[in-house]
Every structure is written in structure tokens, then in C-alpha cells.
């Protein structure tokens, strides 16, 4: 881990209230470049609100965000994106009917000028797409292959590769493995590992302890809008993590009755 560096993003005592509902009641998390920081929590723990605050969708009610050592105030998601915070959502920003390369450059199309005309530079787009996908370990049939023909895991990988290509410094992955099979999950986890090794800070949101332990450097557990604590890799067992997420008591009882399979 690169703890001798400064954290690229630091969230201090973030609070977020929606009317009378307190979604976040003081959450602190910091993420270092080249680290995979797993954010765990059960449904309703405030994971989604927290990452939406980090990516500029919500403004925190209280608390401060430090990005690269300076206080940051994101007006909207575009601010966060241009600062280098990219989010890959559960519901992907991918269009099945369009080719991989058209999807890859959607909204950021490479343009080549021919006289007064600005053309979509298909050659460049196709080459870059093939190259980036090969780096992530996916061999496309061709850059014109439709995204609809890719598996869920491959689509996640395209989305991650796209974020990395467009200069993400912090990559937020919102439950990228929640709807995937075993094999596809392994592919996505391998992708996360590759991205981390490029020095990008990864925030990996999940409620699956095994997926988190497979790639995480540090683990922060959220429960009922609060940070329950951050643990280093190797300092915590899967059982402890699981208990923290579920809030202890009931889970222990349930696990007992299910024979420890959860």
C-alpha cells in the first residue's frame, strides 16, 4: 500500500440529510492512489448516498471533501468527472445496440478536422478501443461488435476501461459484481486489480464480503449512516466483516441456524 503518499480524496464527517431523514450521520473515509478501498454495508446503510456525495450528485449537509489536499465543492457530477472522479454505475452507461467503440467514446468522440468539417475519427476510436480492451484482457471480435453481445462482466470492464482511458484518478464502482456470475465476477475483480496497479484509487462498493476481501486493501464498513471503522487487509476476518455489516447480533443467530454458509 502507498500510505506514505497523501490521500487523493478525503471525506471528513460527511453528513447528508434528506428532509427529516438522516442518510449519513458523519462518515469519514480517505482513499490513497493505487489503493482499492472497499466500502461495505448492508442495504440502506448509506453506501449509495455516500458515493453520490463523492461523485458530486449530492452536496453534503455538513462535513468537508478534500481532493488532492484541497477542499472541493462539486456543483454537479460534471465537475467531479472533470476533476478525475469517475463513477461506474450499477446501471451502466452503455447502449447495447451501439458498437463497443461508439460506446467507448460516447460523449467524448475523437474528432478529426477535414477542412471545415469535424469528423468522428473512427480509425482512432477503433484502434484505441481494441487496445484498451486488450489491456483489460478482453478480445473483441472487432471494434464494431455491439455491446449487446458482451456479457455483464465484459460490459463492466468496458465501462471501467473507458473511465480509466479518460483520465480517472478516482474510480468509484457501485456494486459492479452484484448481478454477475462467478466467472464474470472474477473477471471484474481482475480488472479492478489491473486498474489499481496503474496508480488509480478505486472505491469498490459491495455487500459481498468475499468479493471485497479478494481485491481490497482497506475495508470501511457503513451501518445506519455511520462509519463502523476502517480495517487494513489482514487485520480482519471475513466473519468479523460480515458481523459488522449486519450489525452483529441477529446475523450470528442466523448464521448459526444456517450452519455458517452465509
Amino acid at each position: 500500500m502507498t500510505s506514505e503518499h497523501a490521500p487523493i480524496i478525503e471525506m471528513r464527517n460527511i453528513e447528508k440529510h434528506f428532509g427529516s431523514v438522516i442518510a449519513l450521520a458523519g462518515v469519514s473515509v480517505d482513499v490513497f492512489p493505487g489503493e482499492c478501498h472497499c466500502l461495505l454495508g448492508d442495504n440502506g446503510a448509506g453506501k449509495s448516498t455516500f458515493i453520490k456525495t463523492m461523485s458530486g450528485v449530492h452536496k453534503p449537509t455538513a462535513g468537508e471533501i478534500m481532493f488532492e489536499g484541497k477542499p472541493m465543492h462539486f456543483a454537479d457530477p460534471r465537475d467531479a468527472i472533470s476533476a478525475g472522479i469517475a463513477t461506474v454505475h450499477q446501471h451502466l452507461a452503455m447502449i447495447p445496440l451501439m458498437s463497443v467503440s461508439r460506446n467507448f467514446f460516447m460523449g467524448n468522440e475523437p474528432v478529426k478536422k477535414v477542412g471545415p468539417l469535424k469528423l468522428f475519427d473512427h480509425d482512432y476510436a477503433n484502434n484505441v478501443t481494441m487496445e484498451e480492451m486488450r489491456k483489460m484482457g478482453i478480445n473483441l471480435r472487432g471494434p464494431d461488435q455491439a455491446v449487446g453481445t458482451l456479457s455483464g462482466g465484459e460490459r463492466q470492464t468496458v465501462a471501467i476501461a473507458r473511465a480509466v482511458h479518460f483520465g480517472a484518478k478516482v474510480l468509484i464502482l457501485d456494486e459492479p459484481t452484484s448481478a454477475l456470475g462467478v466467472r464474470q465476477t472474477a473477471n471484474v475483480l481482475a480488472t479492478i486489480d489491473k486498474v489499481r496497479k496503474q496508480g488509480i484509487a478505486v472505491v469498490f462498493i459491495t455487500h459481498n464480503v468475499r468479493h471485497a476481501l479478494a481485491v481490497g486493501d482497506r475495508f470501511t464498513v457503513l451501518n445506519r449512516g455511520k462509519t463502523l471503522g476502517t480495517a487494513q487487509r489482514g487485520q480482519i476476518t471475513p466473519e468479523e466483516l460480515q458481523d459488522m455489516m449486519a450489525g452483529g447480533q441477529e446475523m450470528v443467530a442466523l448464521e448459526g441456524s444456517l450452519g455458517g454458509t452465509v
Binding site: I81, I95, F105, F120, N127
Partner: protein
Amino acid sequence: MTDTAQTPEQDERVKEISSFRKALIRPELGGICGTVLVFLFFAIFAGNSGMFNSQGVLNWSTVSAQFMIIAVGACLLMIAGEFDLSVGSMIGFAGMMIAIFSVSLGWPVWIAIILAFLICMSIGALNGYIVIKTGLPSFIVTLAFLFILRGFTIFIPQQLENRTIIGGISDAAEGDWLAPLFGGQVGGWFFEFLGERGLIEVFERGTRAGEPVVDGIPMLIVWALVLVAFGHFLLTRTQFGNWIFAAGGDAEAARNSGVPVNAVKIKMFIMTAFCATVFATCQVMEFGSAAADRGILKEFEAIIAVVIGGALLTGGYGSVIGAALGALIFGVVQQGLFFTGVESSLFRVFLGVILLLAVILNTYIRRLITGER
């Protein structure tokens, strides 16, 4: 597809697809096959009926060009994920505006034409704005404008002139600089040349003896070809084209990626209105009159041409070339049935059948592309 320098190692999970299947997932395929079949059919059954001499060719080319002009707009709009049912009424309305400005009010024709374009494109923008702001289906919003515009097209000339057909535009357009851009002809010298060489028919007697029967290509056809070329180029070769696909494929995903979806959709509504007005202006200049019943059902004919051309009704997929071929099939069959002497009402039967076949084929192709089952 471009060849990358290095060939990637094959992935055993990616099945090789045959070139046949690859050809099948091009949106134009249906249009190409249909065009070949239609021409074969009429070459056999109407080969010596005059359908393929210079006059016959001009006849079905002109009809096809009419369909093409409105199909280009409808195609781009459908790929962007919206419909415009007000195209037919817009054609009637635009023509009537030109007639009222130039004949009833006596303004120069070029001002009348420019005003008609401005008014209609504003209405197109309004259509788009309402669809975007309310989130209602464009089907309903433009259906409302189908009636609103048709109503005004009948009401305004009745109030001003006590009739629903306004003539005399040809006289008004005499010597105008803009009118020939819509009602004129080009390439007359070329046809004279062909006539002199005996390659096309010439008049045998009368005052025009020796002149070719066809004395030029109507501007209508030129407009159709220019619009098709423009639409195809815009869609496949520009950044904006990618945004059109994205806006129709999944508006939410496109927005998340920074595509200005609302602006794209509104621009495509304006484009559709522009195409309708081009159609109307050409028609008014050719007939020299505007009538309140012009353009009825044209919106559906445009949509049918687009669907035959391989576009999906749900948006995000399609081709301008395909739509142009759809329009060509349309025009050739409509006029071909006339040449073969088949009862013209059967044209509608043909339309219904081919529309159904095209939609079924498109749904199948969609499954092939997206890998759905």
C-alpha cells in the same frame, strides 16, 4: 472495420460469425434485398410497358424522391428515439403558407419560402420542446400537431380567400431567384446531348420536335439525393451522429456520458420539419398551387420507408441509406403497379404486407445484434 496492425489472439469464447450473419446485421440489408427484388419483378412484368424508358424512369424517380425527402427526416428522428406524426400536415401547412404570403399577400416568393421554412422549423422545435419538457411520448404530442396544423391549413385560406386551393404561384414565382431552387430542373444540356445521340427518346413532331422528352432532372430529385447524402454523412461520420444513436439507444445512459440528449432530439425535430418544408416547396412550385389536403398520410409513408430501410421503431438503430432504399421501393412499386395496369388500390395491400415483413425482419435482426434470445 479497420485492420489493426496486430492480430489479437483468438478468444475461444467468441464464436466466429459467418459473413452471412455479419451482412445480415447491417441495417440496409432489407432495403437492398427489397430493391433488387422489386426491380427484378417489374423488369419481368413491366419491362416493355415504358416503365424503363427515360420518361418512365423520371416518373418513378420523382415519386421515390418525394418519399426520400421526408424519409431522411423521419429516419434521423426515429434513430434519435422519436416520431413525428405531423409531417403530412406540415407539408400541407408549409405549402399553404407559401401560397398565402406570395399570392394572397403579394409578397415576393423568396420571402414567402424563407418565412415558410422559419415558421415550420419553429413548429418542429416546439414539437421537440414539448416532448422533452413534458416527457410525453412524441407519438401523442405530434398527433396533436397533426390536427392543429391541418386545421389551420384549411381555416386560414378559407378566411382570407374563401377557398381551400390557392393557385397562381407560378406567375408569382416568375423571375424569382429562390423559386427555381425548388421548382427548376438541372442537367438539361445532358439530356439534349443524350437526345442528339439517340440514346433517349426525342419528340417526333410538333413545336418541340427533336428536343428530348425528358428535358432535365427536377430539383426535387436533387434535393432528395443531397438530403440523403447529408443525412448519411451526419449519422455515420460525425460526432453528432454518434449522439443521435446514443439519444435513441438509451437517453439516460447517453446523458450520464455527457451527450446533450435534449438538444439532439430537438434538432432532429427541426430537421424533420425542414424536410417536410422542402417537400412542400417543391410540390407547390411544381403544381403552381397549394391545396389544404396536400400531404395527407405522408407521415406514415415516411415511417414505413424508414422501417423498410431497417430502422428500429424503438430508436437507436437504423440507416439513412436504408431509408432511401425504402423510399425507392415505395416509389417503384407505386408507379410500377400503374405501368403493369394492376388496380392501384392493391398498392395499399402491398404496403401493409411489406411493412409487416420488414418489422418482423428488423426484430429478428435486433436479436442478432444484441444477443437477446
